[in-house]
């Protein structure tokens, strides 16, 4: 535990030193911070716009950071040769990999928390006016809104943890560039994993072979769309805790499997 924590802590601080990540963070905060400007451009759909831009940006920029940081955590250690002194000390490869993952995750989550905070502030300033009816839109109830937004941000933390796990493990197996591309690919296809599930239905008329392939893709892909609760927020339906818990649980299970696979590769890997 001590070794994992030490590696994670060093990784966390190193993560903050990455210029391009700082760039993404600043850009994301600018976008989220100015999202109220967009709402004026779209009268009538202001609330939808605000939530789309806000939560959408947190997820999108969080994902960018998770992929770019995650896919470089281990390769950078090898390239810069910082790994040599570390692995020659009482640090097992498992501890090293977990330390990198949790340290990187802490960086991603703190970046996203800053974005989330910005969004919350913007929302708090802006929200009271949605409770008032206007000429072109009725008033929103806003009963579950704040709580739902907090849950949405929490879900996106775990979503990015899955993305990060995939990126870290892919970078152990491939080069970091390939790992980044692979992670993006998994992320975007994972957004529509339900779609693959539907295609595999017997009544779509797909051939048995195609159905097996589609079903495998459906089973293997992380179901990222489950982490997206914007629909519920907009309709002001409560996002229930059991759903949040279930989704997070699936995410944690997924991460565990991915990291275990990654360890099998990393244990064989030459540094």
């Amino acid at each position: 535990m001590r070794a994992i924590f030490r590696v994670a802590r060093a990784t966390y601080y190193e993560g903050w030193r990455k210029r391009f990540l700082n760039g993404i963070l600043v850009f994301a905060i600018l976008i989220i911070g100015s999202s109220w400007v967009f709402t004026y451009l779209q009268p009538g759909a202001e609330l939808k716009m605000l939530i789309d831009v806000g939560l959408g940006s947190i997820r999108f920029f969080g994902m960018l950071i998770a992929v770019f940081l995650g896919s470089r955590l281990v390769p950078d250690e090898i390239e810069k040769r910082t790994i040599y002194t570390l692995l020659s000390k009482p640090v097992t490869r498992m501890q090293f990999l977990l330390g990198k993952f949790f340290g990187g995750l802490a960086t991603v989550v703190s970046n996203m928390a800053l974005m989330g905070l910005t969004f919350y502030i913007v929302f708090m300033i802006k929200a009271p006016q949605f409770a008032q009816p206007t000429e072109d839109s009725p008033a929103y109830k806003m009963e579950f809104m704040y709580e739902n937004i907090a849950k949405a941000v929490l879900l996106s933390f775990f979503e990015m943890a899955v993305v990060m796990g995939i990126a870290v493990v892919a970078s152990v197996v491939f080069s970091w560039i390939l790992a980044a591309i692979f992670s993006f690919f998994v992320y975007f296809t994972g957004q529509m994993s339900e779609f693959f599930g539907h295609l595999a239905d017997p009544d779509t008329g797909a051939s048995p072979v195609a159905r097996v392939v589609l079903l495998t893709v459906y089973r293997v892909l992380p179901h990222f769309e489950n982490f997206d609760v914007r629909e519920s927020i907009l309709t002001d339906v409560p996002v229930i805790w059991s759903y949040v818990g279930m989704t997070i649980g699936m995410g944690v299970l997924y991460i565990t499997i991915v990291l275990a696979l990654g360890y099998l590769f990393f244990n064989q890997r030459e540094v």
Partner: protein, 332 residues
């Protein structure tokens, strides 16, 4: 493990039972796969034995496999075939890590830290902490002359400063066995001398030091034993004294530009005559012949520069050994 290897190993263990070995390798081989079916030889069939308490030098030209050997012993890379033991455990075994220190070639560390923070992090990996660790950190940073510059971030270090902190971190756990890969590279002459003194001091404390370098002039005075690698193969090994003496000890007489008449007289008893610019070196089978020749040269108005045992420099041994391999290789 095949039965043959096991019984051979058992025989070896019996043979050397009274000498504690810090490191032993058996037919250790590393072939790098570089893709498209091409392969690079790292090391081939390397058999080394390093006794506890000695300074062992692994020397060889660039790309001869020194770093490869170290990385194998530390479990950073894995052998293609063969085996090795470090402090009685199979190489790469986590159990030996507590007693080992490693200075990699061109070391590098987390940039956001300064030297005391870095050493504290490493120390804590060994379960060290508190005032004892702080004292150890100060001691080590003073040892490598970095205590005055302890506030500098690693990101702002010069090459030599990295090297110094690299040495300090390798000693944090007071290890019994040290692996130093090119320890003086990037260091100024004073820094290099300091490190050599550190290495000698470590031996004084009973520790084993495994040194890789191609700086023969630095290795010669401090190493007890030396192994010379060339193209991944061990070409010579032995104690420094043995290597410098050659197969048998001869005696030399050096004269400054002797005239032909004198040279003709002395040459008769000499085994070999070499010219090194204006110096003429005559080699004799025994001490008496050399000193007789010296007396004769003095009598006849020759200018004697030196007379004594014919010790080669490590550089000469090295060039001899490595040169032979290159010729062998071109014959293939």
């Amino acid at each position: 493990m095949p039965a043959g290897v096991q019984s051979r190993r058992a025989a070896r263990v019996r043979e050397v039972a009274d000498i504690a070995l810090a490191i032993r390798t058996e037919n250790l081989t590393k072939i790098y796969d570089v893709g498209w079916g091409r392969q690079h030889v790292g090391i081939e069939e390397l058999n080394l034995e390093v006794e506890t308490g000695q300074i062992f030098g692994l020397v060889g030209p660039n790309g001869s496999g020194k770093t490869t050997t170290l990385k194998l012993l530390l479990g950073l890379i894995f052998p293609t075939s063969g085996a090795g033991e470090v402090l009685g455990e199979p190489m790469g075994d986590p159990r030996s890590k507590n007693r080992v220190g490693y200075l990699p070639e061109g070391p590098y560390f987390y940039e956001h830290l300064n030297a005391p923070e870095l050493l504290r992090m490493y120390g804590s990996l060994f379960g060290m902490g508190g005032a004892a660790l702080d004292a150890r950190i100060q001691e080590l940073l003073e040892l490598v002359d970095m205590w005055d510059r302890r506030d500098y971030r690693i990101a702002d270090y010069s090459r030599g400063m990295l090297q110094r902190v690299g040495v300090a971190q390798s000693l944090i756990n007071n290890p019994d066995l040290l692996f130093f890969d090119e320890p003086t590279s990037g260091l100024d002459p004073i820094g290099a001398k300091d490190i050599r003194e550190v290495i000698l001091r470590l031996r004084g404390e009973g520790k084993t030091v495994f040194l890789c370098s191609h700086l023969l002039k630095e290795m010669e005075p401090i190493c007890d034993n030396i192994a010379i690698l060339s193209r991944g193969r061990l070409v010579t090994e032995g104690s420094v004294a043995e290597l410098l003496r050659g197969d048998r000890l001869r005696y030399r007489l050096e004269l400054r530009e002797p005239d032909e008449e004198l040279l003709a007289k002395l040459q008769g008893n000499a085994e070999e005559v070499l010219w090194l610019e204006e110096t003429c070196r005559l080699l004799f089978a025994d001490r008496q012949a050399a000193f007789d020749a010296a007396a004769q040269a003095e009598d006849e108005g020759g200018y004697v520069l030196a007379a004594g045992p014919d010790r080669r420099t490590l550089e000469e041994v090295f060039i001899d050994a490595v040169g032979e391999v290159s010729v062998d290789a071109s014959d293939l």
